[in-house]
Subunit: 316 residues, 2 copies
């Protein structure tokens, strides 16, 4: 079985031919630009597909399906790209147009990149074999990819799975979405940076302040300084972990996953974030006395997760 | 098609023969008691089944499946009753034992009553035909029944869907589950009673206080007084609706349902609770500009929902 997976970003689109074991056989990248019209964009993706096939010495007849992951809001079922912040795509009937531009009769599936990421992990990565998985991508915001009972949770018109925008503290910190107190406003990488900045301002004599002034602000600095025993950094990490834990437990109480996965910048902290989160879940999830333990792990698929996850849309 | 649905409660078990249209053809009830051992309980359910069949002039051969809804924690997939507060059942291999006590070879399905309720509504009630439904039962606590992509969300070991225990205000009001700030601590019927009581204590001269002193505390009184323009009552209803709205929007952002259903005592307020909740969702759900409107309604199935929903476990 050979599937083409295309991981579309605001800067580039990466395409790969993926087999049923989630291995990438051939790979190719093309630049994407915000200014490109939807018609040109679709033609670019068609060219990318044909160039990739040429690299591999294959034709479309050898391909069983094409999956594409987008950084935006997608109607998976209808094959429509609703909008992508960094691409010039608004309510585009992508699947229909892309299929006809290729003259391809087999399945073309699209979804957003958070869904592709969790699919890749559940099929071939850190959650391999699990039927119930929640993945949190801790970056600029918080993206959630959710698999429940072996299936992606997308909601009506694929408008759901916006887990970063669930309240942690009603009426709390302003979130970019307009609401106040969202999980994302407390536990994204951006929130960690803000919390670090505030702590530095309040504690200018701390090791944390010293390091931030020397190295600049990053999500790594508070973890580094906490390991060196700096009290201000320990406090930042402790509070951040509590916010993250509280939000993750909410999803555990709804989905009771076998495994919780962390992706995005903050997940680079590995055990420094996994262990306290594991403890938080062990102590706080509902029905913990009676039910299986929920494992926490870092996403394992790395850079190719987007390609493999997009291909995995056709393996569901 | 004929399915037996049994709605088990702490006081009684109600059984019905249900057809594929969700109509109850015959019905029978038996008393349940907390003291009854699991062995006797299973035998009671077997007798209930045979008595019901005798009423209908049928035998087990005429029946295509049996579904049972329990007031407690169930492992649907394994057919195990993990625990029920008001029944003497702990880790009972119910499906296996019940099938062998009946010598019944066709499907026997079990689940908890909140799952049965939402199934009944999605198959035959207020959410008929919807593939994405979230139902909130606003009673002593908050029960959630969730259907996403046409399937019940139960989680690993069916330990999920405990939506009442997601935080609304981290570190807030103590919840019965041990955590602080749960949705249930702010938006259950119990929470509404507490909020009413506090308002009465602070405003002893209000109409609300007068009515509570005359009629006693109930979830109905603040709504009644609010309609009469009492400021204290209006404030209680406004705050309660905001808590409820905020929690419901969280689920909308995750599941983006076609329809949100309200059940339990508070839902008896009908339009007085449905309309403000509808407004709150319309104004606050993520991606509302691009996505279909989410409808709010009161559950429609009434007293027989439990029987029909239990039967519907075999119609999934």
């Amino acid at each position: 079985m050979k599937i083409i997976g295309i991981d579309i970003g605001g800067m580039s689109a990466k395409a790969g031919i993926v087999n049923e074991n989630g291995e990438i056989l051939y790979k190719r990248t093309v630049v994407t630009e915000k200014e490109t019209s939807s018609g040109v964009f679709i033609s670019d993706m068609a060219h990318l597909t044909f160039d990739l096939l040429a690299d591999a010495g294959l034709t479309l007849n050898d391909i069983d399906g094409i999956g594409l992951g987008f950084p935006g809001s997608i109607n998976d079922e209808k094959g429509i790209v609703r909008y992508c912040c960094n691409l010039n795509l608004r309510n585009v009937e992508f699947v229909k147009l892309f299929k006809s531009s290729l003259n391809f009769k087999k399945p073309v599936m699209i979804s957003n990149d958070a869904n592709c990421a969790v699919l890749a992990e559940a099929k071939f990565g850190a959650a391999k074999g699990a039927k119930d998985v929640v993945m949190f991508t801790l970056g600029t915001g918080i993206g959630t990819g959710i698999i429940s009972g072996g299936r992606l949770i997308t909601g009506n018109a694929s408008a759901g799975s916006e887990g970063g925008h669930t309240t942690l503290i009603m009426g709390g910190k302003q979130c970019g979405c307009g609401r106040k107190g969202c999980f994302e406003a407390y536990a994204s990488a951006t929130a960690l940076l803000n919390q670090t900045k505030e702590a530095v301002e309040k504690n200018p004599d701390s090791l944390l302040a010293e390091k931030v002034n020397a190295e600049g602000l990053s999500g790594k600095v508070p973890f580094d300084c906490a390991m060196l025993g700096d009290r201000t950094a320990l406090e930042v990490v402790r509070n951040y972990t509590k916010y993250l834990g509280e939000g993750v437990v909410n999803f555990c109480n709804i989905f009771y996953p076998e495994i919780v996965l962390l992706g995005g910048g903050v997940s680079n902290q590995g055990d420094n974030i996994v262990r306290p989160l594991q403890r938080y879940i062990d102590l706080n999830v509902y029905g913990r006395e009676y039910n299986p333990k929920i494992k926490v792990a870092v996403a394992a698929m790395g850079n190719d997760a987007g390609i493999i996850g997009a291909a995995a849309l056709c393996l569901q």
